[in-house]
Subunit: 148 residues, 3 copies
């Protein structure tokens, strides 16, 4: 797992690392910009979103979309901006070409006229699957540091 | 925009992503280390720095330098350390070889003897242009989550 | 030091940048997951861990391991979760094939049932040496923004 020191060639894993970083940055910007329709499209049709604090996992892209839409509307109505930061990403290839991605995720919350606060510190565990030209999230599990 | 899954080759966009990440890390360290002369040199001579909260955009590298110098002196005099974190970077190539970079930027502020605080949560939108061997910022627009 | 604009080829420095990013993400996850045995193994046998606030530098992998083990036990006993975020990484090659890595490091602290707080804002300066297949930390120096 340690960074390799000698090979001058970019490995598949290293290229994947760069691509997934970029994918997440784009995905987080979609969510925080209120582009929840596009954001939901980054999940598979049968995708599952599970997060500590939810009564139960949300199953299926359309339900994930609805939930995100409601949450985005709530934020607009309350004058709240969220910024999702993902970092400290590690990746593992699975047998079936899926990728297991584990990262830290922070939610920075700012009220209009207020000061930014750390709303959540979480760990995000995704199963990513290829759709030919890119990646989709098949399963996302978000655990919260305050609830662990 | 999604991360590509199949091609084993590093694309120009992916290489650019890595380079701009590295550029920003270096640029932020310059600013926070008080190397404002070098930091200002990362703008074009006619560069523009615009930020929510400023009375008006700062135009031209020399004025950007002066502003940064004053701000750095103020921080030293007040015993304040700032750390600028950029993240969640997305890039778009423009027709004229310029690059539009959108990222989140946090400012972490720490008073000597105090605890770190989230000073600002912002979105940073840059137009980067090539100077042959590297990149320069032609225009930076920083919006603040608390003022949006 | 600026990001290069013209060459379409990934340079050794750029590849190194990607690898060290990935190395740090993995290393931070080890520490925060309580896998302190594996975490300590990312230091050389004669590795040195020095941090502002420590009475003196900790010398040798086994002492580093003991210190980490104690700190991890304390966190478990107090119901505290730490997340170490490294970012804004810059790298310099040293003459002897070692790499000097400078980055910002935040510690996010969350008590069970509490809200996340910024525990520390620091600068992390590492000397990394190759062990053939990867990197080991020979010397880590962590300075704290509140004590500088």
């Amino acid at each position: 797992m340690a960074a390799q020191a000698d090979s001058p060639e970019l490995s598949d894993s290293e290229l994947l690392y760069l691509r997934v970083q970029s994918f997440y940055a784009w995905q987080m910007q979609l969510l925080d910009s209120g582009k929840v329709e596009d954001w939901a499209d980054t999940f598979t049709e049968d995708g599952v979103f599970d997060a500590a604090g939810l009564p139960k996992p949300v199953s299926g892209r359309e339900r994930i979309r609805e939930g995100a839409r409601r949450a985005a509307e709530d934020r607009v109505n309350s004058g709240v901006t969220h910024r999702h930061w993902l970092g400290m990403l590690t990746l593992e290839r699975r047998a079936d070409d899926a990728v297991f991605a584990r990262s830290y995720a922070l939610v920075i919350e700012t009220l209009r006229g207020g000061i930014p606060t750390l709303h959540r510190s979480t760990v995000c565990e995704d199963v990513l699957v290829s759709n030919g030209s890119g990646w989709l999230i098949q399963k996302r599990l978000v655990s919260r540091d305050d609830l662990d």
